[in-house]
Every structure is written in structure tokens, then in C-alpha cells.
């Protein structure tokens, strides 16, 4: 590639931005006007909003048109995200499906699976949750014990076991998850990737209230749950490889768009300016941390554009996804810690009519270094795969 470096978006990309901005400005609900998506009402309100997005093909812009997208590239997706966050539009209730399952399905799914599942995913008619972790398989995913027993008679599999930390699990219609189909195999081998209708007999859901009191995730119990053969994603016994593609995309480019942090960093600067007027001494003490948090968000934006250019040129995202995950989770915390420091004694104010987006955001950010692979695991990956250090 010998086009010179150019960080301007093209005219076409800017036109796409204008179109998105105009649509969002006309349609997006007022900032923070929907109830929390971790409540039943909020879940449905968010689903309705995503249906509206989908109706005008804004819910999955990078997907092919046949599945409800606009067939645009990753850069246009980043542009759309910038506008989405600028408009302070609602969090995406369908994100597990759209950002975690869909990339896997595009790579490993049959045509029938894609036709069956992608359109209702795009329109939020069907919301997906992730059946990944188990009580004894958290950081150590290869320790999965939930099993799938072959039933040739029925032409499918019978699942049993327990999954946990399934975000949206309390309300989702479908679940994608890993089960052990070969009980003899160990660790990464003998796992299979299943698509499971949550309405199948034998599935029980126990909502788990989070640290903030809301029901963000759920425990899922599987007791002899029948899943037909056509709901296996990819090859039987190769579930680990199929799953790792998803894990890569979760930690890589698609789950945490830079616009999320750029927007939060801009709000932090505005808070700083406000406190510089009302409480200048405290504010000045936080100046360095505010600048650092803003820089961290800016670095994430630039690194994403750098990686996106490489991906568009046929490159891939490997262990850089782990560096990325460490960076965004730390950035999110740095932004919110700086904000709470600026708020000082007001930082603890919460709920019941008091709008506490910084405290809520802090509680949310706390989970960042833990989920999608703890940052400790990610540092192992960076050390082993980028620097070639030996395994423990």
C-alpha cells in the first residue's frame, strides 16, 4: 500500500457521518431518559429503541444489507459510533449478540443459521446472552464442565450443567455457549459451541443482582436441555477455536468503541472546567489526572484507527487485542476516578432523584479489569505472545 498517511475521513465517510447525525438527532431519545436496561421495563424500552434503529438500518451498519446492515466498513462503523455517543444514545441491549456472536456466526455459521438468526438479532427481536463462564471456570475457561450428551435418536444433543455471569441472561431469548461434547477430552479439546433457545424445557434462569443492586447478569441452569444438530455453530468438538474468534473480537476492536471513552473524557474536561470555577484548589490538584485520562481516551482512538487501517489492509488482530483490553479498562477507570476526585465529598451521592452518572459509571468501570478475561490473564497473553516469555 503506498497511499500516504492520511487521518482525514473521506468525503463519503463524512457524508455518512452527516446522515447518521441527522437521523440520531431526529430519533434518539433524550440522554438517560430510558429506564436501566437491567430492569424488565428498561429492557423492553431498549429493545424498542433498537427496533427503531434497525428499521432505518442503523443497528448493524457494518453487516451486509441482506441481514439488515448497510455493508459499510469498519471506519464507517467507527464514524457511526462517534455520532452515536455524541448523541448520548442508549446503551445497546443487543450487544452480546451483535458484537460477540455475530462475528463468529459470519465466520462459522451455515447459510441457514445466518438467515435464521441474524435478522432478528439486528432488529433486537431476539436478544442473546453468553453462556461462557461457569462457577469453577472463570479465568480458566478451559475448565468448562457443562456437558452435552449425544442423542442420535433425536438428532441432537442433550445439555446439562451450569453457566454464570450471563449478561442480559435474565431477559434474553437465546443463549450461545460452550459445552463439553467429549467427556474424555481435556481442557480446550472436546468442546462444542451451541445456540440455545432459552425457552427450551430444562433451562432455568436465576438473576444475579450486581454491586449496584441491578440485575445485570444471570446464572443459567441446564437440565437435559435438547438442542438439535442445526444449532451447533461450527464443528462438533471444535468449540474452543470457534469461541476464541469471539473472544478476540470482544477484546479487540468491536466491543468498546473509542467514541465511548472520547465522549466520557470530554465530559470529564467539562466537569473540570466547572469545578475550576467553583472549587479551584481541588480542581487544580486533579488537573494532571484529568489530562492523563483525556490522553488515554485519545490514544485509544488513535490506536483503533491504526489497527483498523491494518485490518482493512488484510492484517489481523492478535495479542494486541489483549493490550487493547487492558488499555480501555484502565482508561475507563481513570476517567471515572478523576471525576470522583473532582466531586470529592459529593462523589458518594447516589440515586433516588440525584443524577449520579459519574458514580454509576465508576461502578460499571470497576468490572472492566475483570470481565472479558481479567487483566491479569491479558498481561500473561501480552508477555507470552508479544514478548515471547515462557509459560508459567
Amino acid at each position: 500500500m503506498d497511499r500516504p498517511m492520511d487521518l482525514h475521513y473521506t468525503d463519503a465517510q463524512e457524508a455518512f457521518r452527516e446522515e447518521a447525525r441527522a437521523w440520531l438527532s431526529a430519533h434518539a431519545p433524550a440522554p438517560r431518559s430510558l429506564p436501566s436496561l437491567d430492569t424488565a421495563d428498561g429492557f423492553e424500552a431498549h429493545r424498542a429503541w433498537e427496533a427503531e434503529l434497525a428499521a432505518d438500518r442503523w443497528s448493524v451498519v457494518s453487516w451486509p444489507e441482506e441481514f439488515g446492515g448497510r455493508g459499510v466498513g469498519i471506519l464507517e462503523w467507527l464514524v457511526f459510533e462517534e455520532e452515536y455517543w455524541r448523541a448520548q444514545a442508549p446503551l445497546r441491549v443487543s450487544q452480546n449478540g451483535v458484537f460477540l456472536l455475530a462475528p463468529t456466526m459470519f465466520e462459522f455459521g451455515t447459510d441457514a443459521q445466518k438467515e435464521r438468526f441474524l435478522p432478528p438479532m439486528a432488529s433486537a427481536q431476539e436478544i442473546w446472552c453468553q453462556g461462557w463462564s461457569e462457577p469453577d471456570a472463570g479465568s480458566d475457561l478451559a475448565g468448562i464442565r457443562s456437558r452435552a450428551r449425544r442423542s442420535d435418536d433425536e438428532g441432537g444433543w442433550v445439555l446439562s450443567g451450569q453457566k454464570t455471569w450471563a449478561s442480559r441472561g435474565a431477559f434474553a431469548e437465546w443463549c450461545f455457549g460452550l459445552f463439553r461434547t467429549d467427556p474424555e477430552a481435556e481442557r480446550h479439546r472436546g468442546l462444542t459451541y451451541f445456540l440455545i433457545d432459552m425457552a427450551t424445557p430444562g433451562v432455568t434462569v436465576r438473576p444475579i443482582p450486581q454491586i449496584d443492586g441491578e440485575t445485570g447478569f444471570a446464572e443459567l441452569f441446564f437440565e437435559d436441555v435438547f438442542v438439535p444438530d442445526d444449532l451447533v455453530l461450527g464443528e462438533v468438538g471444535k468449540g474452543w477455536n470457534v469461541a476464541m474468534a469471539t473472544a478476540g473480537s470482544e477484546r479487540g476492536l468491536s466491543l468498546r468503541s473509542p467514541a465511548r471513552y472520547s465522549r466520557a473524557a470530554d465530559r470529564l474536561v467539562a466537569l473540570y472546567a466547572e469545578r475550576l470555577a467553583s472549587d479551584p484548589e481541588r480542581a487544580r490538584r486533579s488537573g494532571d489526572a484529568v489530562a492523563q485520562a483525556w490522553m488515554d481516551a485519545e490514544a485509544y482512538r488513535l490506536n483503533t484507527l491504526w489497527t483498523a487501517t491494518r485490518v482493512l489492509a488484510g492484517g489481523s488482530v492478535g495479542a494486541e487485542a489483549s493490550a487493547n483490553k487492558i488499555h480501555w479498562s484502565q482508561t475507563d477507570l481513570a476517567i471515572h476516578r478523576a471525576a470522583l476526585d473532582l466531586l470529592g465529598p459529593e462523589a458518594e451521592f447516589h440515586g433516588d432523584g440525584i443524577d449520579a452518572p459519574w458514580l454509576d459509571g465508576f461502578l460499571f468501570a470497576l468490572a472492566g479489569p475483570i470481565y472479558a478475561g481479567t487483566n491479569e490473564i491479558q498481561r500473561n497473553v501480552v508477555a507470552e505472545r508479544m514478548l515471547g516469555l515462557p509459560r508459567g
Partner: protein
Amino acid sequence: MNFAFTDTQLEFRDAVRQVLAKECTTDAVRAAFDAPAARTALTPRWATLADLGVTGLVVPEAHGGFGLGLVDLVPLLEEAGRVALPEPLAETSALAASLLADLDAAGTADARIGPWLESIAGGTLTVAVADGRRPGLPVAGANSADLLLLVADGPDGPEIHGVDAGSITVTPVPSLDPTRRLGIPVWEPSPDTVLVSGAHAVAGINRTADRAAVAVGAELLGLADSMITVSAEYAKDRQQFGKPIGAFQAVKHLLAGAQVLLEFARPVTYGAAWALDEGSPDASRAASVAKAYASDAATEAARVSLQVHGAIGYTWECDLHLFLKRTWALSEAWGSAGDHRARILDSLLVED
């Protein structure tokens, strides 16, 4: 030089620890979380603390207390932090009782002071105390206390007032930690409520702020110790990759770093309590060092504990969040670590 607690102090601490382990379980703390609007903190547990002599430890003997000092109270405040005690021990027994005892010793003629002190010792009165250096903020405990010690501007400068909570309205302000029972008192200062004014009031406000830094610092030490202990226990039990996660160096070093901070926060806090009791010239700075160290040690313990627990620690069912939330609230109360470092630097420059 004899920088240690006495055997008596340690025995009393151990007795209180035993009682609180029974009477202030995490279920009990959860119950207080769920009843944030409770009008009073007069739980059976508070009565037990009064019976033991804890609530009146610094109340003069003439008013039914032990006439002891902050040094004596600090180990007990640490125990209160260890179990995340929902009652306002620091506010009532370290701040209010000390301030009222000072007024009593100075011969303030107000007839209410003696009975208040007696009720504190008897366990029938809890007090909320406003941070006079931060006017306009909600007051911790105001939403459940019987008596409020508030600050107002008078003709001769600041005044400290004693206000019967039952006689005024308190507007609740929700906190991350509902047991904080934050509230904004809606009241009018009057000659009837004033306790002290002028230079004595200023001194009282400053001494109260210093005592608060140490008392809340001591609670934070207990919180930090609890969080580190429970996380170390979890790390011994929880297995991943075929061994306890506590065998991984990353987990070890997270907890070790927090433990080192805590080890150093302890003598710093004890020394500040002694300096305040002693009236040392650098007592104010020592109090700031204590609060800054204790806040940082406890927030680091909180961060590390959540990371060691992983997703489990992020749930409502796990007790950890009770300690996390108290830690985050108290680390900012009566001055954050950064606020106190700024005070320390100012005082060092003056000295120079």
C-alpha cells in the same frame, strides 16, 4: 518513647471485637443497608456498646463515662470498621463526645451539655456532626441521629450549635452506602441552640476536623484489614488452572501491596491519635497524614479485593460490596487523601 497500646487497651479491643463479631454480622449490616431511612441508630448492638463503656469512653467520669482519649478509642473504631458497623460510633463517641467534653471542661455554662454527655455514655443518644470547614454539604448520620452539632455564621464568626433532630426537618440525601444516612438539616440558628462562638468555636471546629480525620482513618484501617483478610481467604479457596489463585504471583503481589500500605497506615494513625490527645503542635498535620494514609490504604485494599474476587465480588450476594462502599464513602469524608496532602504541604511550607 513507648509507642504501643497498653495491655488494658488491647484486652478491651479484643472484647469489643468478640462482641461485634457476634452482633454485627454482615447480615446485620445488610439489614441496615435496607433500612436507610431509620430514624434512630439505637439498635440493641448500640446498647451493648454502651454497656461495655465504648460509647462513653471519652465522656468525663463526672458524666458517666471513662474520661479517656482518642488513643483509647482508636482501636475500637478500627474494630467498628472491621465489621462495617452501621452505627455512628465515630460521630457520636469520638467527635461529639470529645467536643462536648471540651466545652464541659472549659466550663461552658450550657445546662444541656452534661445530660447529653450522660446520654451518649448511656447509649441513648446518637449525634451527627457537620464538617464546619465544608458548609452546605449533607451531614453524615443526620438522617438518623438524635442530636445534630451544626455550624453557622454568627456576628463573631462561626458558631457551633446543638440542635435537637426531632425539632427540625432533615432532607435525606441518598448515598452509595445507605448506612451513611446523609441528610441536609433545615434549620435556623438561634441563641437557644448556640453552644460556643468566636475563637473557641473555631478551635472546636478545627479540633473536630482533626479528630474526624483520625477516627475515620481508624475505621478505614479496620475496613482495609477486613477486605484484605477476606480476599486472602478467597484466594486460598478459589481454584483456577488447577491451583488456588492465591498461588499466582499476580494475586500475591496485589494483596501484598495493599498489606504493606496498611502496615504503615496503622502506626501513622495511632501516632496522630496520641498527638491530638497530647495537644502536640504538629497534631493537625499528623491527623492529615493519618487520613491520607488510611484513605489510600483502604481504597487500594478495595481495588485489590474486587480484582481478586473477580465477578463474584461484583455481585450483591457477596458481602464484599458492603465494605467497598463504606470505604469509598469514608475515603472522601472529612477530606480525601489529596485534600489532606495539600494541607500537609501547606503546613510544611509554613514551618520552613
